[in-house]
Amino acid sequence: MTGLPGTVPHRRSGRGVEAAVPLDISGTGRGTAEAVRFLRECQGRALRVSWRATGTPGCDPGVLCHLPPPAELPADPGALAAWRAGHAHGVLHHRRGPDFVTVLDRRERGTAVRLTLDHPVLLATFLRLLEPTPVDALDAAEREALGLLCAERLVLAGGGWAVTLPPRIRQWPVPCTAI
């Protein structure tokens, strides 16, 4: 047991993880949602991830720059360079409180957006989508929440699937005040 989602085959040794298969980040369905979840959980634990990407990001690559960048992104080398430049631990993360979640988003260089999700439906949808979920499975209120979360770039939706983007911070950096 590695503590990581088993939907992506992987090997873990110490603080390193290697994805055993290329991950599709084209945003065309469940595969991308599972890839995002896997990378998100690795990032929350501050693991070093070795993975290869297939497809071209179906979204603005800046949306994913909080996730560990792939070793290569043959379809778009320019996007890979920007991904590497924008990536740092904690650039986008969430923290759990008693009946709320706080999100810090520094994906946009020079900005620090802090959000508190405490509306019950918004919060429940954010937490539910930590597991990749078919959009069809959401009720009307959850779909409205999905729209809001996508607008804030906190959820990635594509190909009928949706997944929450910010990892829960499980490993504070040193200094912890850097994020």
Binding site: A88, V91, G97, T102, A112, Q171, P173, V174
Partner: protein
């Protein structure tokens, strides 16, 4: 009665005022019919500067002047011209002071022209609420801003009662503040929980407050100072702070988007170590050293309430030292909550690895262990109660548990010599993978410290720190009672030894980011990957008794003790062989040596390191 509570600049912008939060509760608890309002003047000042300067003076500038420049008095100086009704007061003196010390004063100079209009606006705002009493809390550089507003309030409404309290008022400082500023009606010296309700009772009744311990009051034109009590406030009588008005002020403030607000809580007052052995340089606890802690269950209940109320997960504790009982009855509750809190705590340096792990699990990931030095003789001189070896272990465990460790390396203790530093400085390159100090700093003489109260400890000649010359228009004998910091003749190391230490610490800070010294298990073997700055990359393999020895040395051992431990493990190692191996490991920078004790330096954990303010 209508009571207005005020905290002036330079209270940190990202924190609510614990003092106002407590006073609000104290007044309402004692006098439910009273109306209590608050002025969060530090926040107001940042808003004022932002607006009036057209965005040129920003909240970050307030941190530079109000927090970072604490040893140069810049924050007080910004308001001195208002207090003395002379915009040019102290300007030449400040320029002279700054030129002599290489201090940047540009931001303070840019702020000063706004100070008078700000004090004017604050007075208008406070008086609009028609208070009967205005109470100021003052600590660090809040004296002059508070006095400036107090003076203006009293000028406009002489019948108003003005009260000062807070850390700056403790002991003789409070009496000097009172007798030199006739527009201050009362100064509360010491804790407020019992004194403030008693004062309010006298004000209501129109009687002289002769029986309020520690209080300064005017008897005609004579400033009287009641004797301070030795009785401290019981933890059960310390209220839980109310930050409701701070939250409202913050929500309405354009400064909100510039800061990252945190909660402030208080678990304990005083210092349990200082009760037994007062660290010679420390004056932080003022006249109330007696350690008192709220039960962990109650502290957790307060945090639970505040987190739910304010939706904030960052918590700063003001305790000068953690109550060791909190490892049993507080921190486990934090862990059990499942919340992602981030706590800042001051602790003693001799915590066990298990205690440090619990801090990390509870989210107390920012600690201040009071390390101060890595040399045992200097630590003895300051009565710190730990050894250099122990401090190095603490630094290493901080890496193992990804704890951010804030510490300073202090020097300048009477009786220290270059010899006390040579062996430590020689070893600093081997510690480059551990978190460095913020710098090497010469100690200052603080009121209330043993160095201050006992001139025989080495600081016989002292005078108020030079910075106060550009802050207060008062004679030196009055300053001697009013201020907290003093200049002295330098003690301890100087010249080449001082330079060598400060340069070695600078090199540590410069080389830290990319330095690692990591253990890895390989079956029964032990690998050490050395990626420290200034050394060629290397991986060392330790087998058999050598691997066992290195593990034993994580706890810090002498060679004879290590020999006994290995023998107990079944390793029969000839003493000369063990001695030679220890010498070799020490020469390779894998061990720290403190006298006859050796400590293994490799870490098991590798925290994510980021530059401060990354992202």
């Amino acid at each position: 009665m209508r009571v207005h509570l005020v905290t002036m600049p330079w209270h940190p912008l990202d924190l609510p005022s614990l003092q106002l939060g407590l006073l609000n509760r104290i007044v309402r608890r004692a006098r439910p019919g009273d109306e209590v309002r608050e002025l969060h003047g530090s926040l107001r000042w940042a808003e004022f500067l932002l607006e009036r300067s057209g965005g040129r003076l920003r909240p970050g500038d307030c941190v530079e002047v109000g927090s970072d420049a604490i040893f140069h008095g810049l924050g007080d100086w910004v308001f001195s011209g208002v207090l003395y009704d002379d915009p040019g007061w102290g300007v030449a003196r400040l320029h002279e002071y700054a030129a002599g010390r290489g201090v940047f004063i540009g931001t303070a100079l840019a702020m000063r022209p706004y100070a008078a209009a700000f004090v004017d606006a604050c007075a208008t705002e406070v008086l609009a609420a028609e208070p009967d009493l205005v109470g100021f809390t003052t600590t660090f550089m809040q004296n002059v801003p508070s006095l400036a507003l107090a003076r203006e309030l009293k000028r406009r409404r002489p019948e108003l009662t003005v009260v000062l309290g807070g850390s700056n008022c403790d002991g003789p400082m409070g009496h000097a503040l009172h007798r030199n500023h006739p527009f201050v009606d009362h100064v509360v010296r010491g804790e407020a929980e019992y004194a403030v309700p008693a004062l309010l009772h006298h004000l209501q009744a129109g009687t002289d407050p002769v029986d309020v311990p520690g209080l300064c009051w005017w008897d005609g034109t004579e400033s009287r100072a009641n004797t301070q009590t030795r009785r401290t406030v019981a933890p059960a009588d310390i209220p839980s702070p109310d930050y409701g008005q701070w939250q409202a002020a913050l929500d309405a403030s354009p400064v909100r988007e510039h800061i990252h607000p945190k909660l402030v809580v208080e678990g304990a007052r005083g210092c349990w170590w200082g009760e037994k052995h007062h660290c010679t340089f420390c004056g932080l606890n003022g006249s109330a050293m007696a350690f008192r802690a709220k039960p962990g269950e109650r502290l957790w209940a307060e945090i639970d309430r505040l987190v739910r109320r304010h939706r904030l997960l960052d918590v700063v504790t003001v305790d000068n030292i953690i109550d060791m009982a909190y490892f049993r009855d507080f921190l486990p509750r934090v862990v059990a909550s499942g919340w992602d809190l981030r706590l800042h705590y001051e602790v003693k340096s001799n915590l066990t690895p298990a205690q440090l792990r619990l801090l990390g699990e509870a989210g107390a990931v920012h600690i201040q262990p009071g390390i101060e030095s890595l040399g045992s003789r200097v630590l003895d001189l300051m009565a710190k109660g730990v050894t250099g070896a122990r401090n190095v272990r603490t630094l290493r465990e901080c890496e193992n548990h990804a704890l951010t460790c804030s510490w300073n390396l202090l020097y300048g203790f009477p009786g220290e010599s270059a010899d006390d530093y040579d062996s430590v400085v020689d070893q600093l390159p081997a510690l480059v993978h551990l978190q460095p100090p913020s710098g090497a700093h010469r100690i200052q003489l603080e009121r209330f410290s043993p160095h201050f109260t006992d001139p025989d400890l080495g600081f016989g000649k002292r005078r108020p720190a030079e910075m106060y010359q550009h802050v207060y228009d008062l004679p030196e004998d009055e300053l001697a009672d009013l201020v907290y910091l003093f200049d002295t003749e330098p003690a301890g190391i100087s010249g080449p030894a001082e330079r060598r230490l400060t340069e070695a610490v600078a090199a540590w800070r410069a080389g830290h980011a990319d330095s690692r010294l990591l253990f890895e298990e390989d079956g029964t073997d032990l690998l050490v990957h050395d990626r420290r700055h200034g050394r060629p990359p290397a991986t060392h393999r330790f087998t058999g008794w050598r691997a066992a020895a290195l593990r034993h040395l994580e706890d810090g051992r002498t060679v004879p003790a290590l020999h006994r431990l290995l023998a107990a493990d079944g390793h029969e190692v000839p003493v000369p062989d063990l001695d030679a191996w220890v010498r070799q490991a020490f020469a390779g920078g894998l061990l720290f040596r403190d006298g006859v004790t050796f400590v293994a330096l490799p870490t098991w954990g590798e925290p994510v390191r980021l530059p401060e303010g990354a992202g």
